[in-house]
Subunit: 279 residues, 2 copies
DNA sequence: ATTTATTTGTGCGATAATCGCACGATTATA
DNA sequence: TATAATCGTGCGATTATCGCACAAATAAAT
């Protein structure tokens, strides 16, 4: 996604340089892991000289490396994002409960939060039958397609969900053969039930069930699911066998999150904000 | 780690603002997930007004949130580090081979790179017997203590390794009851053998074996290991049963990495740089 | 070999972004 | 009530940043 335009910032208290520098990091991509100065300039919309300054800065800080004219990200870049993961203390607060869940169900369980239009997978306890369907930790899946996404969407207020639907790129839902009306219906049902199952379909060989995780105020801030691959139980069976375990795990996680110093606020932001910068 | 002092940058081509802004992100921490402006100012050594500007910038960009006076990192922060993971294309280049390895050994296998004094775990294929010993992806383990770390240390030049030992905080090695001489011996043996096993011991209930992964120039850029928890085979048995599989996987990964567009450079930086800024 | 089109590196003046003090308002603590 | 922190903000001074323009190096095309 080249040429990110910076919307004029409302307040004068804004550091252009920081924003531009961060955009330089994100100019790197699976499809463009190595870039020259000019490439970065094009992708970010920065002047070539500016792009160069930021690259040299990041080089100096150890976030990027260079080989001749090509720049690339270095592992240290992970430190930035991992400040967030560390602040969540996943190992202590979440992982143990996922492990219990997986042990009890003998299936793979995951923990995710809402992040824009996607679900961010933050923790997982894997069942080894599922080796071939690996989804890397930290990756995003579209919120509308996954069971985790459904429970998160169901946690939105009607207005927020309306915003979500409106802002959702029109083409996005099509590939799953799931139109907006069906999605709306599914989300509404999820809201009233407190859980949701997602059926296998074209391009998705698994069946999964998810429940929301709420903070002290009752707002949905995350979700847990159990995933069968290949699906071995019918949806009703999954509900019968796994829902109690899921609910139990969710309750425990909620308690653990409340005990953690920063329960409410940190997680509470997991709501879909329809506007990255403004609008 | 408060008050990171900025070494005066050699070149004039350096963006203070970017460096300072990044330091603001990293002011957040497992032990300090929520900070007030003044806290951030203290931890970064910035003026309060400056810290505030950066925080507001990050807030506007969606990287941090705030609840009253407290700021905290938001999931979007992961985007930054994940630019790096995406650029590695782990799912495609590494994960399949780990999965094969785990399938063949029925044990857990991991892939890691050197990152400063630590090993960064970037990919894993888990065996479900190992559920309770979960180490979150992306976490660091000290290079001296893990089998992955040993093969990476063994890839350093004698001078680099000397630097590593010198720069290693003196207290670090003690808890593992492994003194510098023993570490040096182990690393030297690893270098000549091309593999290493690490025995279970106090604070470590598993036995593991690792081999290095080299780039086109022969430099060690990463490592793969297989880990038994609880240990079921003796070390010699592990070598006999797993070493061929590990070597095979390493060879395949090396080939895949060479095929990937950016094989050499991106990985090549995984060498231990003893000096974060300078010295 | 000679052009043509892209690169990168660098200097420099003009500009605008950043700095950081200092003030008043607000809230917690003694 | 007094004391100590905190935040928010304005503003002048500074300086970091911008981005053009040029030279040099490289690669591709003629």
């Amino acid at each position: 996604m080249p040429t990110l335009k910076h919307t004029p910032k409302p307040t004068g208290h804004f550091s252009e340089s920081l924003a531009r520098g961060l955009s330089v990091i994100q100019a790197f991509d699976r499809d463009a892991p190595m870039l020259r100065i000019a490439d970065v300039a094009k992708r970010t919309g920065l002047d070539r000289a500016a792009a160069r300054r930021f690259l040299l800065t990041l080089l100096d800080l150890g976030y990027v490396g260079r080989s001749d004219d090509l720049f690339y990200l270095r592992p240290r870049t992970l430190d930035i994002g991992f400040s967030y993961l560390a602040s969540l203390d996943l190992d202590r607060v979440i992982q143990p409960f996922l492990n219990e869940l997986t042990e009890a169900t003998r299936e793979t369980s995951s923990f995710g939060i809402a992040d824009g239009f996607d679900v961010g997978l933050l923790a997982r306890s894997a069942n080894n039958r599922m080796l071939n369907v690996s989804v890397a930790l930290g990756s995003r899946v579209p919120a509308y397609s996954a069971s985790l996404g459904r429970v998160l969407l169901a946690g939105l207020s009607p207005e927020q969900f309306k915003h979500y639907l409106e802002a959702l790129p029109t083409g996005s839902v099509a590939p799953e053969a799931l139109d907006r009306d069906a999605l709306r219906a599914s989300v509404e049902q999820t809201r009233s039930c407190g859980w949701v199952t997602v059926e296998p379909g074209p391009g998705r060989g698994f069946r999964s069930i998810a429940v929301p995780i709420r903070d002290g105020s009752g707002a949905v801030v995350a979700g847990v699911n159990v995933l069968e691959y290949p699906p071995r139980n019918s949806a009703p069976t999954m509900v019968r066998k796994y829902l109690p375990l899921l609910r139990n795990a969710a309750t425990q996680i909620e308690a653990a999150m409340r005990l953690a110093q920063h329960s409410v606020a940190t997680w509470n932001t997991a709501t879909h904000d329809t506007a990255p910068p403004s609008g």
